[in-house]
Amino acid sequence: MYIIIIGGGKVGYYLGRALLDEGHEILVVEKDPDRNEFICGELGSVCIRGDGCEVATLTEVGTGRADMFIAVTGDDEDNLVACQVAKHKFNVPRTIARISNPQNETIFKKLGIDVTVSSTNIILENIEEEVPTHPLTHLLTIKDKGLEIVEVKIPPDSTTIGKSVKELSLPPETVLSLIIRKQRKPIVPTADTILQAEDQIIAATTPESEEALRTALRGS
């Protein structure tokens, strides 16, 4: 694949290196001459100096034949414009923008960017996973449906232990999909499944019902 990367900062550089290793053809567009020289020195002639939001630069680098276009500068608005130019002027099939402000996720989606990667959200999700006491972990967000897949751990002192699934007051639009038990195979819960201490419950829910789901599963 031919992949164009806008922004040769740390993210752009390591991304370019990884994609080269995977055998892709890449090109990094970077404004700063020193950064440009550094990348060319490290990776070979795969970096050109220029503004990735300018039509002239993007024509020069052959954006028309790019399979993927990834904008990873530190500024959300620059990433938005670069992706929009690539999409509307050059019909690049897949545009990906890095965003710092998590609120921009919905805005970018509405403005036609195919994929957004929010570094802030990713770090936040990792913190949730790494901190064992955190009651609810986000595993996956299904953006266009407004749904999310979460994991809830049942602590040993929870008031819901010994109750069956049908006794729990689960919020609407919530489905318990899987229970992972200590040293046992994962089970698909039914209405009569009894909750046990240390159960890891995987559920589909909405961002609004998250809090209610946590209370329903762990007790207050």
């Binding site: 939001c53 300018e54 039509v55 002239a56 500024d75 959300d76 608005e77 620059d78 938005l80 414009v81 929009q84 130019v85 509307h88 002027k89 402000n101 609120q103 805005i107 509405k110 403005l111």
Partner: protein
């Protein structure tokens, strides 16, 4: 009418002053409070510190009731992003945007954004003046 202006530079401040005198309800946003010194001393509108590409700041400036939104910061991309938020997220009826880069202006014009390039306009004007 209710007008929200983003960017209190020379043009933004002047436009805000002109609209204010005519009796319009003007709110002007800038990330730097120091730029509000450019507003006329008798300016009767609202001056707010905030980023126009941020939904919360725009709401504080009253974007939800605005009839007009104008983006006039020094950054083309910031202007484009703010204008698109105003037009497509908040459905402001009239949105105008400054884009210095003529090619970028052309592209966004064709995408339905009302944008002006001072570069093109001023160069053309100078050319006509020089040719007499």
């Amino acid at each position: 009418m209710k007008v929200v202006i983003m960017g209190c530079g020379r043009v933004g401040a002047r436009l805000a002053g002109l609209l204010d005198i005519e009796g319009h309800n003007v709110a002007i946003l800038d990330t730097d409070a120091y730029s509000f010194r450019r507003l006329p001393p008798d300016f009767g509108g609202t001056a707010l510190v905030g980023n126009g590409t941020d939904e919360e700041s725009l709401k504080k400036a009253g974007i939800e009731e605005a009839d007009v939104f104008v983006s006039l910061t020094q950054g083309d991309n910031r202007n484009v992003m703010a204008a698109q938020i105003a037009k497509y997220i908040f459905n402001v009826p009239k949105v105008v945007c400054r884009i210095y880069d003529p090619l970028r202006r052309e592209l966004y014009n064709s995408l339905g954004l009302e944008a002006f390039s001072p570069t093109t306009i001023f160069a053309q004007m100078l050319k006509e003046k020089l040719e007499g």
